[in-house]
Symmetry: none
Subunit: 197 residues, 4 copies
DNA sequence: AATGAATGAGAATTCATTCAT
DNA sequence: AATGAATGAATTCTCATTCAT
């Protein structure tokens, strides 16, 4: 059985299980997500969103009185931290590799682009990103501690390792998109393990 | 004596040592650099650039027929790779720490923000970033090889380490801005060394 | 009783017989028609059109996303060929004179000026004029054939006569405007008849 | 020996007989003539003229302080009435055909387009066109009288014939350009002769 | 005479937002 | 709730013209 990516949970929720069209509000958010990711928030006109969502222009403002509300809603409703399962004690490398492959950030690739791009200029997005980042570092930290009990001696180094790990995991997608350069998460996990043992 | 940052070489050149005002074109680029960094390209009006540069609106058009030309010119003229190479063989940790503190990307903090932010939506900026990133990885790779001749055995691991190093170095500033979380380059350097020895 | 000119049919339709104001879109086209005729397309600002139409500037864009769309729409909606055909066999001179006085081009004097002036530089206008001209020549040809069955022998001459007739009819108004020289259509009709009999 | 068209007299004068480049002022007028004909006066920027003339922008204003001076100068210097030879008494049809082929308007095709187009909105151009038209009608009238002494009886008809002849001759080029429909001058000459005899 | 930087008024177009229905 | 016409401020871009050198 193929496991659908975590970020598609929201996607599945969008269109009813009966295959019916998602409702207008959802279609607006879908369109905005795609357009914001591709062109950026500023360069996307609300009229464009309406057109792609196949709803009349006025309806966008019906649901989202200000344009910024669309962005805020997207970030609030379509990004989050995976609450499910955590660290699997035992083999350090395996645990880290698992974490690498399953960053607990629940957000579609499009939402990640939006998150990083708009955080630069929109306080509310930045706040969200801050929280998400902190949580990811905490998880990584916890996982490292769990996996590598021996390195407990140096908290600072563990902290740096977790942050590095988090940074690489968060940005690898971005970096790949921008530079075409791919970093293998397994390799990074392996490096971290080697550094801490 | 504090060494002025490398990216300010251009800045110093802008206003002559004689204290004379930089010329109009330079003032326009200066203003654009600052404004693009703070508000983003799309959210910055050319009129705003002109006002900050203290030049008439029309002069911006005179030098840069399209608004996008301002961005393209900034990226072309104000980002680059440090050519001064300083391979310091000897102590691995020291060498890496040096590299960490002196990323060979020649670009002001403002230009870095612009580079990362606008690469997402502007092809020409993305191309530049791609080149810069590749060059930085190459440098890091070379430095690692020089510093850690013993690890030559595993090229893939070295490559991953260099890429991780480069990614963290490039993004740390960004991450710090966005999330407030600071990563100590020395720590990262130390981690890399430990991972490779 | 004086028969109102054919081109005013549309005009009458614009403002209801109930004296109600024509709608915004119509007022915009009315204003554009007048201004384009007087000053030319290029020299007429859309703001000017809006002012004369007594609508806000933005509404012009709402109906006509590009300025050129106003011109194109005018030409499409306000020029045409009279469909009411009236072949009146019998006296040749009378028939031709009738045709002279009733060129089958349905277009206000303003639209005619626009048509001739802008055809020079705007392809879509030129296409329209081409069609109109061809149709007028066909009508003239048909009328001549009907009126002067005896001249059927020389098709080329008939063709030339029709074209000449059409040219003079089409341009007489233009010429008069530009040069102040008036050509009497009756005289031209008479000439044609004499030439063909 | 091929006889170069009358309107190229000016052209020949432009570049020295020694094949040297025409001077700046001439190149400016050349460029303006071409550009005005293609795009119209309003739609042609002075910078464009300078570019095509391969002269610095400032030089255009050196010779022609106002943009309109370029147009006025063109019309003054590059349109005129042929003063050379006139009617050849004898065969009417031949004389008219000759006149048809040799309209006494000395102006390049480009200048004719400019003349007709800009007359609509520029008084000075209109004045010139008026004069030229009057002169052409006078010539045609004279030629007709000379060629067809028998028809002297009806001055009004002669007048109408001359005007028709002039109109067709003047506009045929325009019409052809706009509508693609060609009128054979010989045919028109023939028609006129038939109408008057 | 020749030049290109400088200027600013004004053009087209964009677009978030409002509002009557 | 739904709709699309209406609004006007703001933005990018154009361009004739001036001017110092």
């Amino acid at each position: 059985m193929i496991k659908s990516p975590v970020w598609s949970l929201a996607a599945r929720r969008r269109s009813g299980a009966d295959g019916s069209e998602p409702d207008a509000r959802t279609r607006i958010l879908d369109a905005a997500e795609k357009l914001f990711a591709v062109s950026g928030y500023d360069a996307t006109a609300t009229a464009e969103i309406a057109k792609h969502a196949e709803v009349p222009k006025g309806l966008v403002f019906h649901y989202f009185p200000r344009k910024i509300d669309v962005l805020v809603t997207l970030v609030h409703e379509r990004t989050g931290i995976e609450v499910l399962d955590e660290g699997v004690p035992g083999d350090p490398a395996l645990t880290l590799a698992g974490l690498a492959r399953r960053v607990p950030l629940r957000a579609s690739p499009a939402m990640r682009r939006i998150l990083f791009r708009e955080a630069d200029t929109h306080g509310s997005v930045r706040d969200r990103l801050r929280n998400l980042n902190a949580e990811i570092i905490r998880r990584a930290s916890f996982a490292l501690e769990l996996a590598l009990p021996g390195s407990r001696g140096d908290a600072a180094r563990l902290e740096a390792a977790a942050a590095t790990f988090a940074a690489v995991l968060l940005y690898q997608e971005n970096l790949c998109l921008l530079t075409g350069h791919h970093i293998d998460p397994d390799m990074v996990a392996d490096l971290i393990v080697r550094a801490l043992t």
